[in-house]
Symmetry: C2
Subunit: 225 residues, 2 copies
Amino acid sequence: MQRSDTSGPHSGDEDGRGSDTRSRILEAATIHFADKGFDGARTQTIADEAGVNRAMLYYHFRDKEHLYREMLTSHFQVIFRQVFPTFLQLDLGARERVLTIVGVYLGFLRKNPQIRSLLLYELAAGGPHLSEVFDTLLASVPGLELEQVFEQIGTMMGAGAVRPGDPRQFFLHILSLTIFPFAARPLLESIWKLGPGEYDTLMAGRHDAIADLFDHGLFSGKEAS
Amino acid sequence: MQRSDTSGPHSGDEDGRGSDTRSRILEAATIHFADKGFDGARTQTIADEAGVNRAMLYYHFRDKEHLYREMLTSHFQVIFRQVFPTFLQLDLGARERVLTIVGVYLGFLRKNPQIRSLLLYELAAGGPHLSEVFDTLLASVPGLELEQVFEQIGTMMGAGAVRPGDPRQFFLHILSLTIFPFAARPLLESIWKLGPGEYDTLMAGRHDAIADLFDHGLFSGKEAS
DNA sequence: GTCTATAGTTCGATAGAC
DNA sequence: GTCTATCGAACTATAGAC
């Protein structure tokens, strides 16, 4: 069952070991797939940017499709293992807990710009790859249960810490306010005629803006209802 | 300067007149580009679904690129002419005004499912086409000034109707909460294991959930700060 | 493991008859 | 305006030498 010190061809090993060529290909594939999408990406370009021969792509991975899926999996793994658990492991009050989650999301998106376009291409295509990637990841990270998130939201609602309602809408609020501004960046830069630095400034103030919305709502005049 | 009663080849005419073939191609192009994206779409498939010969695509439009851009323009035109003006023409109080805008957005997205993937493909690609499309549209709809929106938000903030802050963050809140849940639909359906009807139900309750967030914030315990 | 050479397709676009 | 036929380019994938 034991393998030698180099990953074999077509291996799905996850550890950073493996041949250097293999990881260089994955790195180049990330950049190019994020830029052009699966259909727009060219295996020649990936090989060139990785500094390897094009045939190496077919030796280390089976074909373009397998290369793409392994690349996708390696990145969404980070979300599942680092970002997602923050929903559960925090031992804080409701407010600090939610705002910490928002901060983790915003920080992750600011540090991993390629995730943005990779996710958008997948969403646009309807997520045919994502379902399989998610199944793989959920199976490989056994301590992760989606239901726990909603249980904890329900607990917070029951304790009166957050307003009662559908936990999924609660979840959608947080996801929307954090992810969308990053996703729509090129569109908004175009509409608002912003330079690159201006949008970074806007994103730097995003956390406080969301906190203000969560704390006070949108309107100054105290509500009727 | 006057043209005969049929649109000529490569004409950028916008009125619904023109040859029936031309509009059928645009309709088929919408569906197929929304499904596969620009790089993934095949001119043969578009021609087949339109029930015309493939050479007609090159007669009525110059090439694949021009067909795509005209298709995009025709759809985003609707946003510019029908959705966007609701930001300015409403003669309501701040709360009703914002919630009406949210309702218009949600309604538009629910009725135009193809817009979702068309927008996502463009966002993923970084919006190279969108800039040109927007410039074209802003020029063709003269009574539309982006600055007016932020002026009116500033006015509402000055009058104490909405909380003071960066108007762009205010704008991002509204866009995020309405657009993202539609954009992320396939991903969330996959994660949450939802049937098609369940997500529609969730979107039907979206307006009220956003209104509650805007009215009361996210937390029950009245804020500190 | 890495390279060259090439097979085998697919696709966008055009020419030209009707 | 619509069709057929076809060109030429681009691309994925494989075979096989080293």
